[in-house]
C-alpha cells in the first residue's frame, strides 16, 4: 500500500503546485496593494490610528470583518473602523467598550488580540498568526494616548459624512437600545448637536412623532467622531427614525465648520416584548 503512496498522492499535489504559486509581489506594497503614482509609500507602524488602520486592520482584519456579515457587526475597513471601535460597546461583552480611550486593559479589542481569559469566542486574528506583543503594544499605546482618530489622508478635502449608526439602518431590536450611536468620518462639533440637528421620531399610522422628553447628547468616550444619544425614557416597541441634519440654517458640522454633506435618515424597529 505504501509503495503506491508517492504516485497516488504525488500527482495531484504536483498538479496543484504547478497550478498555483505565491505571487512575487512585483509592484505591490506590503499590504499587497499596487504601488502607483497616487499611492502612499509603506510606513512603519506607529501609535496613530491611521498607521494602525493601514498596517493592521486593512491587511489582516478586513478579509473577514467587512460588509453586512462582518462578525459581531464589526466592520474594520477604513470607512467604518474608527467609528465602530472607539467608545462603542462590544457585541460579545457589552459591559466592555471595544476601545476604551486611555484604558487599554479595559478595551475588548486588546483582550481579543491578546487572547485574554475573559473573551468570548476565538482569539484574533482567527487562526493566527496572532499579532506579536510588540505590535499589540503599539495599539495599547495608541489607546493610552487617548485613542485619537488623527487626520486621515486627504481628510480636509473630503466631505464630512456619516459613517455608521447603531442600531444600524433597518435594524430590528428585540430589546430597546439603551443609547444610540451616530458616528462620523471625522470629529464633530458637539456644540452643534441638538434636537434640531439630531432627532428621533417614532413612526405611527398618523405620521412621525418626536420622541417625547429630552435626549442627552454626548461624545462617545474618547471618540470625538461619534455622538451618543441617551433617550430620556426607554423606547417602547415600534419603528423609529433617527434624522441627522446636514442642511438647513444650522446644520451639523465638523470642527472645521464644514457642514455634513447631506441629511441622513436611519430607521430601526423595537419589537414588542414576547407575551
Amino acid at each position: 500500500m505504501l509503495k503506491h503512496l508517492p504516485r497516488r498522492l504525488g500527482v495531484p499535489l504536483a498538479a496543484a503546485l504547478l497550478a498555483g504559486c505565491a505571487g512575487n509581489g512585483q509592484g505591490l506594497d506590503s499590504n499587497g496593494q499596487p504601488i502607483g503614482p497616487g499611492s502612499a509609500p509603506d510606513k512603519p507602524l506607529t501609535a496613530e490610528f491611521q498607521s494602525i488602520q493601514d498596517n493592521i486592520f486593512t491587511p489582516k482584519c478586513v478579509r473577514c470583518h467587512s460588509g453586512g456579515g462582518a462578525p459581531e457587526g464589526l466592520q474594520l475597513d477604513a470607512a467604518h473602523s474608527y467609528a465602530l471601535l472607539v467608545g462603542v460597546p462590544s457585541a460579545e461583552v457589552p459591559a466592555l467598550q471595544r476601545v476604551k480611550a486611555s484604558d487599554p486593559d479595559s478595551s475588548y479589542l486588546v483582550q481579543k488580540l491578546e487572547g485574554s481569559s475573559g473573551i468570548l469566542g476565538e482569539r484574533m486574528p482567527r487562526g493566527g498568526p496572532y499579532l506579536p506583543q510588540a505590535t499589540i503594544d503599539v495599539i495599547r499605546q495608541w489607546i493610552t494616548n487617548g485613542a485619537q482618530q488623527g487626520s486621515p489622508p486627504a481628510a480636509a478635502s473630503s466631505a464630512f459624512r456619516l459613517a455608521a449608526t447603531s442600531p444600524p439602518h433597518q435594524a430590528v431590536m428585540a430589546a430597546p437600545p439603551a443609547q444610540l450611536l451616530v458616528a462620523f468620518n471625522r470629529e464633530v462639533d458637539l456644540s452643534l448637536v441638538n434636537d434640531t440637528t439630531v432627532y428621533l421620531e417614532r413612526l405611527t399610522a398618523q405620521g412621525a412623532v418626536r420622541v417625547p422628553g429630552q435626549a442627552a447628547f454626548r461624545l462617545a468616550p474618547g471618540n470625538s467622531a461619534a455622538v451618543l444619544l441617551q433617550p430620556a425614557a426607554p423606547l417602547t416597541s415600534g419603528t423609529y427614525r433617527l434624522t441627522v441634519r446636514g442642511t438647513g440654517p444650522a446644520p451639523l458640522a465638523d470642527l472645521n465648520a464644514q457642514a455634513l454633506d447631506t441629511d441622513y435618515v436611519s430607521e430601526f424597529t423595537v419589537e414588542a416584548p414576547a407575551p
Partner: protein, 365 residues
C-alpha cells in the same frame, strides 16, 4: 465477546438506531466511507453532535484500538428523548514569522457541549451547541428542526451554521473567505432535501453573523450535492445584501474522491465583495486540495494545499499554504493531532510567510 464481535454488534445496534437519520464528521471521513454528512451528525449539514451511528463509528471504526466496555456503549442518548455530546481541543502551538521573534503557547481552543431533545422522536428535535470554554458561555447554534415522515424533507429554524461547501475543521482555511464557517452562525431558516444520492439545502438568514438583525437585506445560501460511494460533487452559492455598503456574493464548487486508501477533497470558491469601499469592491478566489491517506485503522496522514488570490484585479499578490498533519486515534473518543502549516506569499509581507507547528489533544463524544 471478542472485540471483532463487539464491533459488529455495535455497528448493528447503530444501524437499528439509525432509522432514517444521517450523519457527518470530518468531511474526509464522509468521502472515505461514502457517507453523507447527516450519516454521523444530528445536523444534516454536518458538524456538532454525533448521531448514535456517528458515536458507534467513533468507537469502532475510527480508533486504532477499541477499549472494550462490554455491553455499555456510549451512543449519546441519555434516554429516548435526550442526547448529549461534546468536543474539546487543547493545543500546543509554535509559530514563526520572518523578522519577528518566534512564539509558542498552550491554548485551550474550545470545550463545547451539545444537547438534543427529540421531543417527537425522529420528527421534531431541538438542538443547542454551546461553547463553554475558554471564557464565558457562547451560544453557537440553537435551532429546532422538523423532519417529514419519510425523512426526505426537513425545515430548520433558529441560529445555525449555513450550508456552503465542505465544513472543514481547520477554521483558518483559505476557502473560509466565503464568510461561512463554524464561527459565524446566523439566524434564519433552512429547508433541506435528502433523497437517494441527492442532498440539497436552501437557507435564508439575517446575514449579520450574529450582529444586530436588519431588514435592509438578507442572506441566501444554497447548496446541492450528489453523493456516491466513491465520489461526490457539489455546488454552493451565497448572496448577502444585508449591508447598505454593498453586496457580498460567493460561489463554490467542491468534490470528493476515494482512490484506494486515499480520500481526496477539493473546493474552489470565488467571492465578490462590493461592501469594501476601495475600488468598488474586491474579487477573491480560494482553492483547496486535500489528500487523506489512512495506512491503518486509527491513523491518518493529511496533506493539504491551499491557494488564495486575495484580489483578482491585482497581479502578483497570490498566497499559498501547505499543511501536513498526522492524526492518531489510539482509543475511542481520543485523538492526537500534530502537524505543520507553511504559508507563502509576497516577499514584502512577512506575516504571509507564517509557519505554524502544533500538537493537539482532541476529545469528543
Amino acid at each position: 465477546m471478542s472485540i471483532r464481535h463487539a464491533r459488529l454488534a455495535l455497528l448493528g445496534a447503530a444501524g437499528a438506531l439509525l432509522c432514517s437519520t444521517l450523519a457527518h464528521a470530518e468531511p474526509y471521513l464522509a468521502v472515505a466511507n461514502g457517507y453523507k454528512c447527516s450519516q454521523c451528525h444530528v445536523n444534516p449539514t454536518g458538524g456538532g453532535e454525533r448521531t448514535p451511528f456517528g458515536n458507534v463509528f467513533a468507537q469502532t471504526v475510527l480508533p486504532a484500538r477499541h477499549l472494550d466496555t462490554g455491553t455499555d456503549v456510549w451512543t449519546g442518548q441519555i434516554n429516548r428523548f435526550i442526547s448529549l455530546g461534546g468536543d474539546l481541543r487543547f493545543d500546543a502551538t509554535a509559530q514563526s514569522v520572518p523578522g519577528t521573534k518566534s512564539s509558542n503557547s498552550f491554548d485551550f481552543q474550545q470545550a463545547r457541549v451539545y444537547l438534543e431533545a427529540s421531543v417527537i422522536p425522529d420528527r421534531l428535535l431541538v438542538y443547542v451547541d454551546e461553547q463553554v470554554a475558554p471564557g464565558g458561555a457562547l451560544n453557537r447554534e440553537a435551532w429546532g428542526m422538523f423532519w417529514s415522515a419519510d425523512h426526505t424533507w426537513y425545515i430548520k429554524g433558529g441560529q445555525m451554521y449555513l450550508p456552503f461547501g465542505f465544513r472543514l475543521q481547520d477554521q483558518g482555511a483559505f476557502v473560509n473567505i466565503s464568510g461561512i464557517y463554524m464561527q459565524t452562525p446566523d439566524n434564519g431558516v433552512e429547508v433541506g432535501w435528502i433523497k437517494g444520492p441527492w442532498d440539497a439545502q436552501l437557507a435564508l438568514s439575517n446575514g449579520t453573523a450574529g450582529g444586530p438583525t436588519t431588514t435592509n437585506g438578507k442572506q441566501a445560501s444554497a447548496q446541492l450535492q450528489f453523493v456516491q460511494s466513491r465520489w461526490r460533487a457539489g455546488v454552493a452559492a451565497n448572496f448577502n445584501d444585508s449591508s447598505d455598503s454593498g453586496n457580498r456574493d460567493a460561489f463554490g464548487i467542491f468534490g470528493g474522491l476515494k482512490t484506494g486508501p486515499i480520500a481526496w477533497l477539493a473546493e474552489a470558491d470565488i467571492v465578490n465583495d462590493k461592501s469594501l469601499p476601495v475600488g468598488g469592491g474586491q474579487k477573491q478566489l480560494a482553492a483547496l486540495l486535500e489528500g487523506n491517506y489512512s495506512p491503518a485503522r486509527g491513523h491518518n496522514l493529511k496533506v493539504t494545499f491551499e491557494y488564495l488570490d486575495p484580489d483578482r484585479d491585482v497581479a502578483h499578490d497570490q498566497q499559498t499554504r501547505w499543511s501536513v498533519l498526522y492524526e492518531y486515534t489510539p482509543i475511542q473518543f481520543v485523538q492526537i493531532r500534530g502537524g505543520a502549516r507553511f504559508n507563502d506569499g509576497i516577499p514584502q509581507a512577512p506575516e504571509q510567510h507564517l509557519k505554524v507547528y502544533f500538537v493537539e489533544l482532541h476529545g469528543f463524544f
